[in-house]
Structure formats: C-alpha cells, structure tokens
Symmetry: C2
Subunit: 470 residues, 2 copies
C-alpha cells in the first residue's frame, strides 16, 4: 500500500505555538532559578597576554592565532574590496570557524502545552554570567569531543532528529566571522526526558517575556526562536492590530514575494564585494600589543586573550582568544503601517563574511562610535531622535558570549512616518510574514534581524515589553 | 494615501502561462526559420594549439589559461577533498567565471497570448550550429563590452526590468565551473518591440514542443524556462493525471516541505567537501599536450583551444579555450506515482563547484564511460535497463555551447516501481511543485535537474514527446 501524502506543514503547528505563548513561570521565577543555579555555575574570566594562551599557537609565519589541534576556530586577516561601499577597501582580523555547529531547542508537550527545554548557561564573554540559552549549543568540536570534556547533554536528540519543527543553517555576524553558519533546530520529543541541573522546561511565552529584560535571553536562543514557523499563528484570534496582520501569510504586502526575491537577486548581482584571507600579521591599520590586537584609531574591536575558570560546563579551565567590540551596538527596525499591515524597513546589507554577498538586515545596524571619520549610516538619525512614544520595543541584549567579550547591543523597534514609496535601492518595506518565508532558507536574514524577528513575535503575543499597542 | 497591498503572486499568471502552452508555429516552421537564418548566421570552428590562442595567455608561473585583459573566464586547477564520497580526493582543471551573467527571455502578450522572444543562435561548441536560445545571453563582459563587439540586443529590458516574472541566480555545472552562477530572468514588456534578424516571437508551447527534438533548445533556454512559476497552472483543467497533480501546489507529497528542507540542511551539514584552487600546471593526473590538456586515463574531458569565424554574432572572429567532455552524458529522473501524485527521485549531490555543498540533482547524472575504474552510480542500472514502455521522455540535448564543445546529454524520464519508503540517505521522492518552490531560490536545483523540470512541464502540457499518458 502506498504511503499517505503530507501537507506542506503540520496543520496543528500554529495552534500549538499560540497556546505556548502564554507565560507560566514569569520573570521572577526565572530570576530566582538563575540566582539559585548561579551558586553552582559560574565563570571567573581574566584577560591574558595573547602570547600565553595555553592550547593556542601564534603561527610564526602568518601571525594567525589558532588552536593547537587545529579545531575550534582561527583568527586570521581579511582584505576586503567593496567598490561603491561606504568604505571601498579595508583589512581586518576575522574569525574562521568552518565547522557547522548545532543550536537546538528541544520542545515537548507538557499538560497539552508546548514547552522548551532552556538552559541557564555561563559563557565567558557574557557581561553578567548566566543567560538563557538553547538546550544545545554545540560546535562540531564539542560533539566530537576534541577538547576531551564532558559530552554535550541532549545532543543525541538533534543528531538523530525525528519530529523537526525547524532546521536551517543560518549565518552569524558577517563582520566578525568568515562564512560562519550554525544549524538552527527546533525538535519535538514525546518521551520523558530527565531534566539535568541548569535546565528547565518553560513555555515560549516565558522565553519571550524575558526578551524585555536586559542581557537574559542569549543570542543563540534568539536566533533559534526566529526560525519558529509562527506565520498565521494569530490569524483566528480576532485581533486586527497591524503587527498581527503582518504575521499572517494571507495578508498582502507592499511588494509581492516575487518582487522581493527579484530585488535580492538584483542587489546580489550588482553589489561587488570580494574578500581574500591574508596573514593576520600583515593586516594594515591594526597593531599587535602583548594584551591585544587593536585598530590604529581604537575603532571596531580588539582581539584579546582570556583565561576562564568555570563550573557547571563541559570543562573547568581553558584559555581562548575573543573579540571585544568597542562601544555598544545599535540595531533597529523602523516600522510603519501600510494599508493596515505593519511593515519593517529592511536593508540589503553586504558584510564580508557572508556566503552570498548580501543578507537582509535591520534598518540600522552599527556601533555609532565607529562613525567618527565617515558619514553615519542611513536612518541612524531617525532612530536616535525617536522618543519613548515612538519606541515600541527597546532592550539591551548580548551577542554570543563564546566568541565576543561584553558585546552588547541596543535592539529597538521604532515607529516612523517615512513615505513607503520613497525606498532607497538597498532598502525595502517587508512584512513579518515575508521575512518568515525567507527564514526557512539559508543566506537571507542576518543574525541581527533574526533577533528582531523574535522580539516582534514576542510583541505579537503582547510580551517582550511592547510599549504601545496601537 | 497609502499604496495598495499586493498578493504573493499576480493571480493572472497561471492562466496566462496555460494559455501560452499551445504550440502555434510547430516544429516544421521553426526548422524552416532555422534553415533560412543559417544562411546568414554560421560559425566555422577549428581546433587550435592551446599555446596559440590569440587574446589568451598561459600564465608562465601557474600554467593557468586566462584572457589577456583578465575578463571572460580562466581555466585553473582545483584540488578536491571529499571524504566519504565515491572518490575521496582528486585534482582537475576547472573554469572560473566569477561574474554573474544574464540569461533572459522577454515575453509579451500578442493577441492575448504570452509569447517569448527566442533567438536562433550559433555557439561554437554546438554540435549542429544554430540552437533555440533565450532573448539574451550576456556575460558581464558582454554587456560592459570588454571585447569591443556590438551591443547585446534587448539587454536594456533586463538591466532595468519592470514586470518581472522570474529573477533568480542559478548555478551551472559544478564539475566544470567553480561557483558559476547566472541570473535567470523572465521579463514581460507591454510596448512594441522591433524584432531583429535571428529573433522570433513564439509561444511557450512552441518552445516546449521542440524539447523533444535533439539538440534544438539550448541549455540556457531550458534553465530560464524551469524558473517559470507554473505550479498550479493546470489545476482547473479537469485532468487528474499524476503528473498534473504533481505540479499542483495544493496536492500533498510524500515529505512535507519542512522535511525536505531539513533533509537538505542535514545533507549540507554532514557532507564534507572542501576545495582549493591550485595552479593548472600542478594538477596531478592531467597532462598538457600542445593541442589539449587531458586526463591520464582519457576520462572526463579535455581542455582544447578553438578558433571561430562567425557571422550574425557580436564579433566575427575569436579564439578561446573550451572543455570537450568524453562520451555522452546521461541524466534521468526515475519517477513513480505515490498516492496518485507523480514523484521524482531526487539526489542531494555534491559537486566541487557548488557554492553551498550540495544541490538537488536528477536520480542519475553521469557520463557512463567514466566508470571504468569505480563502481557505477546508484540507479544507473535501472535507467539503462528501462525499455521504451517505461521511458516517458527521451531526448539528446546539448550543454552550453559557449564553454563546452559538443557536450551532449541524453535526458530521460523513466518510470519505476521502486518502494517509495526505501530511500537512501542522499535520495528523496519529491513532487514537481516542491522543486518549483525551491527554484524560486538560489543553490537548490542544479542545472541538469532544471532541464528535466522544463521537460516535465512540456509533458504536463502533452508536449515534449511524452510517450505514454497514463
């Protein structure tokens, strides 16, 4: 007998996501859990001379910083040609990490409601110790146990996944990583699972509510949750808010999907950006001191070395290089209603580390301090000038604490009255459901925009610190 | 007043495509047009010593063959590591052509029916002179006029396209090109257009009917037409054939799209293939003779030089290197009904030239003559053993005649009774509408599978030499 055919998506998924968007624990309970667990899990981090990172080598010929068994990652140099870009040519240090890791959240129905197995996890770059993390954050080195540490708990559910809700490789910071991608997975299990120390079941609503609290939900959790297929989840709930309509696949949009795809094709064809790796020792405009590699004007980031003494992790002591950005990042979507549907102003942004030329980024994505010598990016003024009445979301969130030291970004959703018909060539007004369509595939939505998608989802459910509800 | 919102796709598109699938001219009229035009447009091709290609240099240090002003393309060497692949390690010559060209078909409603502006075009590698080609085949060198030839006619309609029906960059042969991509475009115009010598308006049906004739519809026309959004075109015509249902987005499939995307993610994560360019002079196992670069066992292909004297093209005389494959290629989809819907057995295939590890390929894609020393690929036996009663489509078609010399491939659609539940890890049964969904994006469907999609579309309309109509 031939097998039965399946529809494109499990028809129960939207209702199950909607039902999980109610917070059960509340932020105070999570805070208490963090405080309790922090007594068992902590990390002491000290900065260290780059020449004395145990386990790491500075290549005598190239100056590249690499792990002694060739795993984890390497810091090398990159030469970038970007004719027509705001800076047409530059060189910089960059992280090469070619292996594809897994960022995975395990979900399970408990009392009929989907719960996520979240982890309270310390990363050495976190400014505040513990953050709320996915079930699994595993580099390939982690799960092949190159470092000889403990096995990564729950990894087996992702390596041999059966009930997959989301599974897509997504890029990370293209200014700091060369062609880095992680596999973002949401996997459901039916069987009972032992909850280890430092893990806790919570609803999607619990996680989303914590997005409004500074530095709690980590970058990996935010990017995995952006891949949740939530378009249409709120279609039937009777609300007609423009943000709800923006998440509904049945609503129209300023541009058809064909137009959006053609625009991306055009930007990727027209943008000429080329890169080549060069020895780290030869990167122009950067200087090596014992404690760091720094830009001649003190801009962008330093490469530093750290030593970590941790409890509650795979291994207890290690040293590693990290990137320490200068200044606080600013990431913002300008949003406006168009014919009753909320649209976000998306930027087709080239970064040297992207696999495919440009990805869709928030309207503004920068560290304002870096614009001492060059004109500020478009729309930065609009974001900085917006008062609280126009700011629908604002939180300070951390970037990945395993590679970046105290990298904090102010994420904002800001209302605007900009004319929707006045789009620069590299900007387009898109709906949230269009971004969700693109998020099923690699190479389209960058990591900063994915954080913003997760925040917008929290705002749909009335969580995530939405300030106004017009 | 805010602008109106658009649906995802122009709702008139399916009906307009269906109406254009009726042939108007018929093959004889096209043949007569070709015969007539061949008197004005021809190419005399002679093979030439590789050291004496005017306009081309052999780099004295690397042996790479490149154009003297650094445009068009370069032939260099590639070292491939593919642990777990059928051959775990090899070196080969490969074409590098980083610029993204345009392959475009202009369409226009004439007497209420969409017509395509097709071109009778000679390419030096064509085994038979003229072939039916898109309106425009332009490398960036072409349209920036590096070669100082005539302008490419109709190119302006694609560079500033307004009514875009399809626009996506797609890969080409990943065994012969390193990361080559062309922009496949279908653009509609309303205004009157002068029809130049060598061009002719014809319906989609006319083009599809010619697919069943050997070596007429060229590779570029086939790949552009595969990007036509024809899912759902035949939904309302009352037919219930399994192939028609396979093209209907509303029908189910053995795997949901989420499962298919997760499978592709898994194959791309698991497959370890790495490449690095090396000097052509250092490629192991290949020998340079005055007239060609050849493999030590006479397998795969030769690099040869040719001299061309052409009329009716951009320039009249030129020389260039080409790849001349050994033997005839074989490309086939095994197909079967599953619950009344035709499914095709797709292979997640790694080729060294792909940008993103694997793309979806036909069930079988090989040159059978190359398998003297290694086991034949899976399912080759099933395809070769199939008689005429199981062969629903068969035609000999040429690969791109601007880079490949007499590269001919037998394209087949073959019925099978294979158990649909018995899928090897790198094969999956997909419907045609699932492949069409993926064809909206880059990196998914390889050029051989795109030719097969166009043939399947012709078969839906009862064209393209369908042998049985069950």
């Amino acid at each position: 007998m031939p097998p039965a055919l399946l529809p494109d998506q499990d028809p129960r998924t939207p209702a199950r996501i909607a039902a999980s968007m109610h917070p059960v624990l509340g932020p105070d309970a999570v805070r208490a859990w963090f405080d309790e667990y922090a007594r068992y899990s902590s990390a002491t981090v000290t900065t260290t001379n780059l020449n004395r990172l145990e386990g790491w080598l500075i290549d005598p010929f190239t100056g590249d910083i690499r792990h002694r068994v060739g795993k984890f990652f390497t810091i090398t140099g990159l030469a970038v040609d970007f004719p027509g870009g705001p800076v047409p040519r530059w060189q910089q240090p960059i992280i090469i990490q070619p292996e594809i890791g897994i960022l995975g959240i395990l979900v399970k129905e408990i009392d009929g409601v989907l719960h996520c197995l979240m982890q309270a996890k310390v990363e050495p770059g976190n400014p505040n110790g513990l953050q709320l993390s996915p079930t699994v954050q595993a580099t390939r080195s982690n799960y092949t146990r190159v470092h000889g540490g403990k096995p990564v708990p729950y990894l087996e559910y992702f390596v041999d996944a059966r009930q997959v809700i989301a599974d897509v490789r997504q890029s990370e910071q293209g200014s700091w990583f060369l062609q880095k991608r992680n596999r973002n997975m949401i996997v459901e299990v039916d069987e009972d699972i032992e909850v280890l120390d430092g893990f806790r079941w919570m609803t999607l609503g619990d996680v989303h509510q914590l997005l409004a609290v500074d530095d709690v939900v980590n970058m990996d959790a935010r990017t995995v949750l952006s891949c949740l297929p939530f378009a249409g989840v709120y279609d039937g709930d009777g609300r007609r808010e423009s943000l709800v309509r923006s998440c509904s696949a049945g609503e129209g949009s300023l541009h058809s999907m064909g137009e959006v795809l053609s625009w991306i094709t055009e930007r990727r064809t027209r943008t000429e950006i080329s890169t080549r790796t060069i020895p780290l020792a030869e990167v122009r405009g950067w200087y090596r001191e014992p404690a760091r590699i720094r830009h001649e004007d003190g801009l962008f980031f330093d490469v530093i070395g750290i030593g970590v003494t941790a409890t509650g992790r795979e291994v207890g002591n290690w040293m590693q290089p990290m990137l320490r950005p200068h200044g606080t990042g600013l990431v913002a979507f300008l949003v406006r209603e168009i014919a009753g549907v909320l649209h976000v102003l998306v930027h087709a942004r080239a970064e040297p580390g992207y696999v495919d030329v440009v990805e869709l980024a928030p309207t503004v994505q920068c560290a304002p301090e870096n614009y001492k010598h060059i004109p500020p990016p478009p729309y930065l003024d609009s974001v900085l000038a917006a008062g609280p009445d126009r700011t629908r979301f604002s939180a300070m969130l951390s970037e990945e604490g395993g590679r970046f030291y105290h990298a904090r970004t102010s994420y904002r959703v800001v209302e605007t009255d900009l004319d929707p018909l006045d789009e620069p060539p590299d900007f387009r007004w898109l709906t949230v459901h269009q971004l969700l369509d693109l998020l099923r595939h690699s190479h389209y939505v960058n990591v900063q925009a994915r954080t913003m998608i997760t925040c917008l989802h929290g705002m749909v459910a009335g969580l995530a610190g939405e300030r106004t509800s017009r």
